[in-house]
Symmetry: C2
Subunit: 458 residues, 2 copies
């Protein structure tokens, strides 16, 4: 950071208007008509050979169970490991396998103005765990191993914009958590960098406006988790007349939630994890709930490394992530839930109103099921403002599909005192919090991206 | 949080002006003339019997070394423990004793307007480790054990304002870290709550303006660490014409610093910590550097519990915490240092330009000493804008004194490219960050409190 004596404005007040202009470009853009997207996307799908086969966990080449601990690791010592975790949250206590990957990856989207409108460079990328293999990912999606060359593969395209600060103008740059139920303290760097360079075109990349991306977010399995997470961090700063709680009260409520939760975790040998069954094929829960640890073999034509095997976490059942939405004084609010998850670095983060796999609760009576689950499941079509199926990071999770919903709350539901741990918050407040890490979990970020790219009246 | 349909303003735009008015009340106030403070304070010192004696670590009643691990704990299992920590930061690696206290305490200051000026209720409180026993503490300074009654002592006065959200108006409420070199992932809740209640007067408490507190901060050992930390979180929002780096660039630089540091810690049995010597009296480093773990016996007349013994960490030597200060385009900036400390929850936090105990580096050649240490130590009086000695939390640390300095940087020093890990940041930017946890370490917060309560031109 070279020192200049001309001062910068602390905030770029033009930026929200520039994002808003890009959000209004829905059907066409200087680079691609929205109706042409499917043709281009299908062509990218045909252009590459990419096959995924299931492989028994015990037969994963390059990976081994460590003698004694039974932890799963790569022979290079890099990438990630599967270990055991003992979690105590208040009176609840359990053990589970967990992914340990203590390194920061980069999820970066390159932005550029064409005809006065910001466009975002998205990559058509296949991941072995994706239910629909090809999805739109950020321009760069690199693990630390990727960008330090542990793969011994090809260079990551456009990476320099995200690791050399002089190459562009940073619009957002924040460490955000990943799934606290599956990852131990994992975070990735979510970045948006603007460039004015003439960039060489590349077949697997396309420039899209926020309006076009917003449209694609209404379809199933097009925009991948990493892209959704980065888009949630875009500084939209929507203008809102006010909020149910002032920002200070919201932060105070969040601090209370963090202080009142006692979350303790202890890493344990994977072999010692109780209530989980180890077979040659997989590791699964005795009641067949939660997830399985399984393996795949991948053959890819356009990747840094063209074939590999790896473990993946495969959730049992389809998840449900929903915000209840209500307008207070004409300002939309979401009902957030301060969730404790064992893998969070700091006790709780804000998640959707409902975030669970309903099947895991099917055996319980209604009063033991998560608050609002039945309300959301039985909401009529007239109350559903948004519904789409998206999957989680296909490099670690196999067919990890959730239905993401925005469900309108009735006046009575909205004005009732919310249960402890829940609060009504505006999208603008969530967007302000997304500038900082440790506030919003990855599921909330998907729904915040939907809200941020929304066209018209939310 | 009851739901109302009248919306709140997201930010209270009156608040910075109200804080500024309190800051301008320097010599007098509705409650106490500044010149009367010393008389009142001395009287409080005489009012209570409070003695501290050194006791060999092995003879601390109520505390024991656990068989096997050698960890030090209280027989109740509460308060805090001393364990061992193995720290790896990049290529550096060491072991040390560390305080483990995984619970959130409350540091709360009650605020109230008198004659239209905000006053803050400060408590004259003795702590066994304070070099000057009596200091000004927040209204409430309560460990989790305090406020859940593990002491079996008297109630904590005014506590309800900080644990019952309906009792007042929250002005600040944030979890902030404590010393990353001495505590493992410790955080406390820093709160300011405004009330309009008529409060019963109490002998050990007095109402002071920010201007009066700012004056007292210029004197040695009057305002304790907890009070300084809370005052740093007061939402001052100083008006600044701009900054060397925009807020987005600052956050991006901070994210880079966090991502580039690899900090790994592992709890180990205290008995296994290498390079430390265990005697009946204490635990100390083989080279007599860093700190000793020692014990004290306390007899107090006005505390929840009237006599107890406890371990304390006693630093070797006097610390030095200094910001280099420079005006860029007439806006004051501090040179912050992104510091990795083994006990931080998340890799790095922003600290002063220089933060160390110079004696620990006396045996090293200049180029191996911390950047700017010699510059700060040899700065002439004409460059020193602020200098005072303050001590750290006297409930855990014995005679932990540091000199806190603001030292003017020359034009040449300020416009040179700062070394990696350093950046010029305005007090306003630091104040914005102090609304959130994990950004500012406790030493930086002391100097931010000094800046926030500064009268006149910084």
């Amino acid at each position: 950071m070279t020192i200049v004596t001309r001062l910068a404005e602390r905030e770029d007040n033009q930026l929200p208007a520039r994002f808003a202009r890009s959000r209004r470009s829905i059907t066409t853009s200087a680079m691609m008509r929205t109706e042409d997207f499917d043709t281009w996307f299908a062509a990218r799908g045909r252009a590459h050979r990419f096959t995924v086969e299931r492989v028994p966990l015990r037969n994963l080449m390059g990976w081994s169970l460590e003698p004694g601990s039974g932890n799963i690791g790569h022979h290079s010592g890099r990438f990630f490991r599967v270990e055991g975790l003992h979690v105590t949250i208040g009176a609840r206590e359990w053990q589970q396998p967990i992914i340990v990957q203590p390194e920061v990856g980069i999820l970066g989207i390159l932005a550029k103005e064409f005809d006065g409108v910001l466009h975002f460079l998205m990559q058509a990328k296949m991941e072995p765990g994706n239910p629909r293999l090809l999805q739109l990912s950020p321009t760069v999606q690199a693990t630390h191993s990727n960008y330090t060359g542990v793969h011994q593969g090809a260079d990551v395209k456009y990476l320099d914009y995200f690791i050399d600060p002089g190459q562009g103008r940073v619009l957002a740059d924040v460490l955000q958590s990943e799934h606290g139920s599956w990852f131990l303290c994992k975070s990735n760097r979510n970045m948006i960098v603007e460039t004015t360079d003439d960039l060489p075109p590349d077949d697997d990349f396309c420039w899209l406006t926020l309006g076009q991306l917003g449209t694609l977010l209404h379809r199933d399995h097009i925009v991948n988790m990493d892209a959704r997470s980065v888009l949630a961090c875009a500084p939209m700063a929507p203008v809102e007349a006010g909020a149910v709680h002032s920002d200070t009260d919201l932060l105070s409520w969040f601090t209370t939630e963090r202080a009142r939760h006692d979350v303790r975790v202890r890493r344990i040998p994977l072999a010692d994890v109780r209530d989980w069954v180890f077979t040659d094929d997989d590791i699964h829960h005795v009641a067949n709930r939660y997830f399985r640890v399984t393996g795949v073999a991948v053959h890819a034509g356009n990747r840094e490394v063209t074939s590999w095997m790896q473990p993946l976490f495969e959730p049992i059942g389809v998840g449900l992530c929903a915000f209840l939405v209500h307008r207070f004084g004409r300002v939309p609010h979401f009902l957030v839930h301060a969730r404790a998850e064992g893998g969070f670095l700091d006790t709780v983060e804000l998640g959707p109103t409902v975030q669970c796999t309903p099947e895991n609760y099917a055996h319980l009576p209604e009063h033991e099921r998560p608050p609002f689950l039945d309300l959301v499941r039985h909401a009529g079509a007239d109350r559903i403002r948004y519904a789409a199926a998206h999957s989680e990071e296909g490099g670690r999770f196999l067919n990890a599909t959730s239905r993401f919903l925005l469900v309108e709350a009735s006046e009575a539901e909205a004005t009732a005192e919310p249960p402890p741990g829940f609060a009504w918050v505006t999208p603008g407040q969530l967007n302000s919090l997304s500038r900082h890490g440790h506030y919003l979990n990855v599921q909330a970020r998907t729904l915040l991206a939907v809200a941020g790219l929304w066209s018209g009246r939310l």
